[in-house]
């Protein structure tokens, strides 16, 4: 893996020292005991856990394990996509936690650059885990014990290798969630980042306007859609989709994992891409959610690697776009989650916020009706079951998680085995970025 674990270990050691010292000074002996006993004293007192002076208020939400509101904590600042920095989510978090949460929403592309330039001023980056490798030196690991919501109720996908959805070749999503030490020791006790939501990327098309087999990524490259197809202007996800297509249709058998191609594998993908670009297959390369919705609504493109949420938004605006949940060649799983800055001074508040993100069920339900899943479905279930905002007569839980209308939206259990692999930061990232930039410019 390209992750800089040595550097992460140093950061962890330094942070732990700082954390212990600070806790000792503010919380007195009680905390010191908590730190010392962290391993056995339970999640609440582990690491930089809650100190004895915390003032717990009943902050609504789901009862006894709810993180206590603490006036001495925070404020914290995070960056993320507009989906994660939803004001409804941040407001609910502030009410429950008792400290201010400043959220800054950005596009996927800008987010990476912004974080690298500003990570010292921020505590949390809610990020696609495929970017974590590019950010490794700016992140500090998170002890699993500091996130009590990461318990037995977390779906197996994130806790057990080998279950449906797990990739034997890449080791994801386990390998992308925990640090290499935690994976090797099989203790899974330390996060690179905490998964807060996840989903499956595939492609979409405009109904009745798209030629070819619309159950396959091949539709994007079908001659009948020449000059009307598009790809996301980003190397990791787009290249992975090409590899998924080529492997799934037996055009080529890749030596490496689909999310971590070797230089030879990459050359195959880019040869394929270059040929199609030269033929004028692509109308344009899209860059962000809003732009994609606009293009679909205006009828400028018919097929491409659309996002499910963008298809839904375009349909609300009058378009007739279908997102193909599980293409014949398989979907590309992705994880979005919370990573913590190596320079944070608010580690405790940050972990409380992340814990709330999973435990309250509020973010999970808001993101749920946009097509995305929570690692803790049990906390979203009561909220989603009580509402029916998507299809009349079907509650949101049954529709989005349980596959009440399988032709539109299969259940999570049905979708997991269709994951070809998970979007991750490849070892050869620089080569990916270089070749992709050259392909776009060719």
């Amino acid at each position: 893996m390209a992750l800089d674990f040595e550097k992460m270990a140093q950061i962890r050691a330094a942070a732990d020292r700082a954390c212990t010292r600070r806790s000792f000074l503010t919380g007195g002996l009680k905390v010191a005991a908590g730190v010392a006993l962290g391993g056995v004293a339970g999640a609440g007192l582990a690491g930089c856990g809650s100190d004895g002076t915390a003032t717990t208020t009943s902050a609504g939400g789901s009862g006894a394990t709810q993180a206590g509101a603490d006036a001495t904590l925070g404020p914290i600042s995070e960056i993320g996509l507009s989906l994660t920095e939803d004001p409804r989510i941040l407001t609910a978090a502030e009410e429950a936690l008792g400290f201010k949460v400043n959220g800054r929403a950005d596009g996927l592309g800008n987010q990476l650059t912004f974080w690298l330039q500003n990570y010292k001023q921020f505590d949390i980056n809610q990020v696609n885990f495929s970017q974590n490798g590019a950010l490794a030196a700016t992140l500090r690991p998170i002890a699993v014990a500091d996130i009590p919501a990461w318990n037995d109720q977390v779906i197996d996908l994130f806790r057990t290798p080998g279950v449906p959805g797990y990739s034997d070749k890449s080791g994801w999503p386990i390998a992308g969630t925990y640090t290499s030490q935690a994976v090797q020791s099989e203790k899974y006790d330390e996060f690179i980042g905490v998964p807060t939501w996840f989903g499956f990327d595939a492609f979409g098309y405009v109904v009745d306007k798209t030629a070819g087999d619309v159950t396959s990524y091949g539709a994007i490259f079908d001659p009948g859609n020449k000059g009307k197809s598009t790809l996301l202007n980003e190397p990791i996800t787009s290249v992975m989709k090409i590899a998924t297509y080529l492997q799934g249709t037996n055009q080529y058998s890749f030596t490496g994992a689909l999310n971590n191609l070797t230089p030879e594998d990459l050359d195959i993908c880019f040869q394929f891409l270059g040929e199609h670009k030269a033929k004028g297959q692509f109308r344009l390369f899209w860059s962000d959610f809003g732009q994609l919705v606009g293009l679909l609504t205006a009828g400028e493109i018919v097929v491409g690697d659309f996002w499910a949420s963008a298809c839904a938004a375009a349909n609300k605006a009058g378009a007739n776009v279908r997102f193909v949940n599980d293409p014949a060649e398989g979907s590309n799983g992705w994880i979005q989650g919370a990573t913590i800055s190596a320079e944070t001074k608010n580690y405790e508040a940050a972990t409380k916020f992340i814990n709330w993100y999973l435990e309250s069920g509020i973010p999970g339900s808001i993101l749920g009706v946009q097509g995305y899943y929570s690692p803790r479905p049990d906390t979203c279930k009561p909220i989603l079951e009580a509402q029916s905002t998507t299809v009349d007569g079907i509650n949101d839980w049954d529709y989005w998680y349980q596959g009440a209308k399988p032709e539109e939206r299969p259940s999570l259990d049905e979708r997991l085995p269709h994951v070809a692999d998970w979007q991750s930061y490849p070892d050869e990232y620089e080569r990916y970025a270089g070749l992709w930039t050259q392909f776009v410019a060719s």
Partner: protein, 337 residues
């Protein structure tokens, strides 16, 4: 010798009339001093010390006037550019720059064919748009200055040309989409008129349309300076040419245009600077399938590949200087300052 600050103290000044005290209050304007110095020099020759003091006073004012601009250029231009150059000799790992210096980014950038494709595309796009912008700007500016008689109407028309600049740059670009798109105004009109049967996708997301949009964005940079340049030519000069037998055409080419050349070159140079850096039009109207250098720099930066972005960025800066040199060959821009 008194220091700069002390040189303006009354002790260093020659004995003076009632104006002296007033002048002391106006230390910050160099002009006052110079005007004041002239009659004094005539009235009474200054001693060596007095002359030096006056000279120092003027230099001190120069420094004061220059300081804000110099600081601005230093922190907003020179330091960032130096950092870009610096980063182009570094490597990145895990999101941070590694300390060691390397020329790898440069050998990669300069040895790749695609880099030269990008350079050519940048020059081609800028060149084509510039020729059109210069031709349109010249005719429009000339029309404004020669064929519109009333100064009020002139000002009004110029205002109309500048008016779109009151909205944001991105909005001015994006606005072409609903005009030229599949379901845009142009397609709707053409289908209605029976000129085409089905909406065409040929009016958006290609290089031709992108250049068209760029022309509309940057032509006003030329119209303004050309208009002012023609305005400064005395009508007597043109009349003289005509009375000596020149046709209107010849008078324009041999008298007016050479005199207004400065406006044309200065305006075109401004347009060129913007064209070199315009990746937004390329993406929003051109579709981003054929980016130039600036768009590729933006792409590399977005992927966290700052060294590669910096190397291409430095290349772009070098190109701007080369083009500036080319413009200077046509016309000494310093004369316009």
């Amino acid at each position: 010798m008194p220091a700069f600050g002390l040189s303006s103290s009354p002790a260093n000044r020659p004995a003076a009339g009632p104006n002296r005290g007033k002048q002391m209050d106006d230390q910050t304007t160099a002009g006052h001093n110079q005007v004041d110095a002239l009659p004094r020099a005539v009235d009474r020759p200054m001693s060596g010390i007095q002359e030096r003091a006056a000279k120092q006073r003027r230099e001190w004012h120069h420094v004061l006037l220059l300081t804000p601009a110099v600081l601005w250029v230093l922190f907003a231009v020179l330091v960032p550019v130096a950092m870009i150059v610096w980063v182009s000799f570094r490597r990145m790992k895990g999101g941070l720059l590694e300390p060691a210096l390397t020329i790898e980014n440069w050998t990669t950038a300069l040895s790749q064919g695609i880099t030269w494709t990008l350079v050519f595309r940048t020059l081609w796009t800028t060149g084509v748009v510039l020729v059109i912008v210069a031709a349109l700007g010249l005719t429009a500016g000339y029309f404004l200055s020669r064929f519109v008689k009333k100064p009020r109407t002139q000002a009004l028309l110029l205002m109309l040309a500048i008016l779109p600049f009151w909205t944001s740059y991105i909005i001015r670009i994006v606005t072409w989409q609903p005009l030229l798109g599949e379901r845009g105004v142009l397609n709707w009109t053409l289908v209605r008129l029976g000129i085409i049967n089905e909406p065409s996708s040929a009016f958006l997301f290609n290089q031709g349309v992108m250049m068209f949009a760029m022309v509309s964005l940057y032509v006003v940079f030329v119209i303004g300076p050309v208009y002012w340049a023609f305005g400064t030519i005395s009508p007597d000069v043109v009349a003289a040419a005509r009375s000596l037998g020149a046709t209107p055409w010849k008078a324009f080419w041999t008298v007016e245009l050479p005199l207004a050349k400065g406006g044309l070159v200065a305006g075109s140079f401004f347009a060129a600077i913007f064209l070199f850096g315009d990746y937004a039009t390329e993406r929003l109207i051109g579709g981003g399938t054929h980016p130039a250098l600036a768009g590729t720099v933006k792409a590399y930066a977005g992927y966290g590949q700052w060294p590669a972005a910096s190397a291409l960025g430095v290349l772009l800066i070098v190109m701007v200087f080369l083009v500036l040199g080319l413009f200077m060959k046509f016309h000494n821009l310093r004369r316009e300052l």
